[in-house]
């Protein structure tokens, strides 16, 4: 089957175009040997099915970042018939750097010039005929978010050509590249790629074990190592920069001839708003306003009104009795229990997923989608960069942390945006330790605000300080890995409702796909554990810690186990315990702290294994659990020592 690779810089609208192009989605998953997500889908052209691959955003191919490595692997191993390079019309010169590299690859390219509407707003117009003439490839103007120009792009897919690019590398480097090219004998290297591979081996590659060198079968060759070292010495600087510079000069020339910058029809109000969001004082105010918005839409409306209706009226009064009557017809008690028993599938999987999580998450995704689409998130990253640095992260970690308040599992996936393994580890650790997901949070808030404001302060004060301290400690003890905070600040835009809706439904569907099987599985597990008496065994075994150290009733074990399956269910048990007098308010405060700090849920646990590997995942689980129990125990002792009650 034919393959078409979508490639482009980050934030040029590649994924939006991907969604527009494909007729059905085939797969989405991390590329073998990396945590970089690659999506694949199908497109029918003249009755023939073509696979579309959405590569991760790459700035370049000359350096050895994760995303770049994956893009290079797809190019070299899967040999796509065509590359569609998606460019941002506002910054065409930057995209051209990548075009220069693609030209060396000898693969046909079609250029999709995206976001021509935003470019026009900024007074930038791309002369696509001139561009086609200069590059020798089709260049199609599109607005991917609205689907404008996409049919024209599809029609042009058959006309892809190898970009015309007169490489003018400095002579010394050029000679070195030719020398290296001559030594290549490996059959693993596709013939048309040898030049690029030689350039890559000379530039961003690891000197001995780099990707391009391995591909070329040259990793053991000392003469190559010497050639690279010698060439680097001549230039006194990274060879990648020398190549990038040569490409840059060409890109500037093409840009100068094909793009005109005229009068700007700007939107001063939005620009002003964008600037205000960046400075500490006004930025904090805007942040506070957005948090308030999230609180009302997600906390009050979704978690309150909608969930209340779904749980009580819909599932409770409308579905519940009918289902009970229906199930009563089944002659076996075991089967009846399996469906609607305390740990049955309906009770443990269907109701929590559709009655609680789905509405809360959908509303969160919807609101968050608006905020995301407006271009606000990068500004928040800038605002909080310095603060995040204290805990070993940088501004980019703002996105996963914010997402953590909706669903820690979702946030764990999004830690992939972080650059270094170190940051991903710290972010995942802190997410599972100190960030409660919206489902859990809404129930916790509902209980605490009814009981005591001081209790609320103590619970969140302890959790927040512990998270910060843990971050600082991790930052100190983890080996230093360089990570740089550079990000583009997109213009503030009015979000498009349609876009937000699509995003929301995609995310909600993804959540259902991932969560439903797990919920069913864990409900079955708990059902079995309950039937064979494992639950009460666990309660007895954990009693010394729970009763002795934490000063809590033994039933707290049940809350923790339930909480491991669905966070808010565990909290709900706490409420029951307080209502029935098994637990007093001081105990509740301790229990809340332990519950928040404890591993969020089984889905999250599975994802940590997937993202970090079993070994690190286990380390995180052990550390987080120890932290939770120790903090709870210390809090219990301090509270009883100073005799504070709530």
């Amino acid at each position: 089957m034919k393959k078409i690779l979508l490639i482009g810089l980050p934030n040029v609208g590649k994924s939006t175009l991907f969604n527009r192009l494909i007729t059905n989605r085939v797969s989405s998953g991390s590329y073998p040997g990396s945590s970089v997500e690659v999506r694949r889908g199908m497109l029918k052209i003249d009755g023939e099915e073509v696979e579309i691959i959405d590569a991760p955003g790459v700035c370049n191919l000359l350096f050895n970042e994760d995303n770049e490595r994956v893009a290079k692997c797809i190019l070299a191993d899967e040999l796509p018939e065509l590359v569609v390079q998606v460019c941002d019309a506002k910054n065409l010169n930057r995209s051209l750097l990548l075009t220069a590299l693609l030209a060396d690859l000898q693969i046909p390219v079609v250029c999709a010039v995206n976001m021509v509407d935003e470019a026009a707003q900024k007074g930038i117009s791309v002369n696509r005929h001139k561009l086609e003439e200069l590059l020798g490839i089709p260049a199609i103007e599109i607005i991917a978010s609205e689907g404008v120009g996409v049919p024209a792009l599809i029609a042009a897919l058959g006309k892809g050509a190898i970009p015309r690019f007169p490489t003018k590398l400095p002579a010394t480097l050029s000679t070195a590249v030719s020398k290296l090219e001559k030594t290549i004998t490996a059959e693993s290297a596709p013939e048309q790629m040898t030049r690029t591979l030689a350039i890559l081996a000379l530039t961003g590659d690891h000197p001995t074990s780099g990707w391009a060198r391995t591909k070329l079968g040259l990793q053991q060759d000392d003469s190559v190592t010497e050639l690279i070292a010698g060439t680097t010495r001549t230039f006194h600087r990274p060879l990648g920069l020398v190549v990038a510079r040569a490409h840059d000069l060409w890109a500037e020339a093409v840009y100068g001839q094909s793009v005109t910058v005229g009068a700007i029809s700007s939107t001063p109000f939005l620009n002003r708003l964008g600037d205000l969001a960046l400075t500490p004082i006004t930025g904090s105010l805007i942040l506070a306003a957005l948090i308030a918005l999230l609180y009302f839409v997600v906390g009050k409306f979704a978690a309150g009104i909608v969930v209340d209706f779904l749980l009580n009226d819909f599932f409770g009064d409308m579905i519940g009795p009918h289902l009970k009557n229906l199930v009563a017809l089944i002659p076996y008690d075991f089967a009846r229990q399996l469906i609607i028993g305390e740990y049955g599938l309906y009770t443990m999987a269907v109701v929590p997923v559709f009655g609680l999580l789905l509405p809360i998450l959908t509303m969160f995704f919807f609101t968050f989608g608006f905020i995301e689409d407006s271009g606000y998130i990068p500004r928040l990253s800038i605002l909080l960069d310095r603060i995040f640095r204290k805990v070993g992260l940088n501004g980019k970690a703002v996105l996963p942390m914010v997402l953590g308040f909706s669903c820690v599992t979702m946030a764990t996936i999004s830690t992939r945006v972080l650059d270094s393994k170190r940051e991903r580890f710290i972010a995942i650790f802190l997410l599972s330790l100190g960030i409660p997901c919206s489902a859990k949070l809404s129930v916790i808030l509902a209980i605490l605000t009814q009981i005591s404001f001081n209790g609320f302060l103590v619970v969140f004060g302890v959790v927040f300080s512990l998270t910060i301290v843990t971050g600082i400690v991790l930052n100190k003890i983890m080996p230093v890995e360089s990570s740089n905070f550079i990000m583009e600040v997109p213009p503030i835009r009015i979000p498009s409702l349609k876009n937000v809706m699509t995003k929301t439904s995609n995310r909600s569907l993804l959540f259902l796909q991932e969560a439903v099987p797990l919920f069913i599985l864990s409900a079955l597990g708990l059902f079995v554990a309950d039937k064979i008496g494992l639950l009460s065994v666990i309660e007895t075994l954990s009693a010394p810690i729970i009763k002795g150290f934490l000063g809590l009733p033994p039933q707290f074990a049940e809350s923790l186990i339930m909480g491991f399956i669905r966070g808010e269910a565990g909290v709900a048990i706490l409420k029951k315990m307080v209502d029935s007098g098994v637990m007093n308010h001081t105990q509740l405060v301790v229990a809340m702290v332990v519950t928040i700090l404890f591993i969020p849920c089984v889905t999250n646990f599975m994802l940590i294994i997937k993202e970090q590997g079993a070994q690190k995942a286990l380390a995180i689980i052990v550390a987080v659990t120890t932290c939770a129990v120790l903090t709870g125990g210390i809090l219990n002792n301090v509270l009883s020592w100073v005799a504070i009650t709530f």
Partner: protein
């Protein structure tokens, strides 16, 4: 008419450049100087060889250690002069060659070091060729107030022409280049706290302070 030592300088300089490119032959050297006001022929070359500045191996010519020591300051002056013309005077790349050729013979050693310091010890000429290190670079002097300053020494609202980036990390440099931050580009500092925000052409880029401190430029 060029003075004799100028001819020596010119020829040694050409040999140096050709060596950087890989191969240097007598034919190449002669061809390179064909339009010059002075003659470069076999006699000139063999005189240089006689002085122990170059040596012949078969068809190709190489600088001897003495020849290299002689050519180094010439190359250095030439490329520093180019840097100065572009960074300080904002001349276009293609218009600087002639003036730079003059400077390479006339700059006094002390003045060369002063210019080098003023420019912040640049490591390459505007065309991307390396500038040999001088004594001042090894000492990394900064006694003269630099004309070329890092972004953190400039103010919000300043427009800056980037002169060079003082970082060795290829991944970071790659990112900067692909965000459009590379020597010769003009950027505007919009904000310095809590992070740096710079406007470059039609986009805004946010940077942490550490990176901003390694981007050197001239106020324009």
């Amino acid at each position: 008419m060029k003075k004799a030592e100028h001819v020596t300088d010119e020829v040694l300089e050409t040999v140096w450049r050709f060596e950087e490119m890989g191969t240097c032959t007598a034919e190449g050297i002669k061809k390179e100087h064909i339009d010059a006001a002075y003659r470069v022929d076999d006699a000139v070359l063999s005189e240089l060889a006689h002085k122990g500045l170059i040596c012949f191996t078969g068809n190709s010519i190489a600088l001897t250690a003495t020849g290299r020591a002689h050519a180094l300051p010439v190359i250095r002056r030439h490329r520093l002069a180019e840097r100065m013309l572009v960074d300080v005077l904002g001349m276009p790349f293609d218009a600087i060659e002639e003036s730079a050729c003059e400077y390479e013979h006339t700059l006094a050693p002390g003045l060369t070091e002063a210019i080098c310091t003023l420019l912040g010890h640049p490591r390459e000429c505007p065309h991307g060729s390396p500038i040999p290190e001088g004594e001042c670079c090894k000492r990394s002097e900064s006694s003269v107030e630099s004309f070329v300053k890092p972004l953190n020494a400039l103010d919000v609202g300043d427009s800056v022409r980037v002169s060079f980036i003082k970082k060795d990390d290829p991944v970071l440099i790659g990112k900067l280049v692909s965000f459009g931050v590379s020597p010769g580009k003009i950027l505007k500092i919009r904000q310095k706290f809590p992070a740096y925000v710079i406007q470059i052409e039609n986009s805004q880029i946010a940077l942490e302070q550490d990176i901003a401190a390694d981007i050197y430029g001239v106020r324009v």
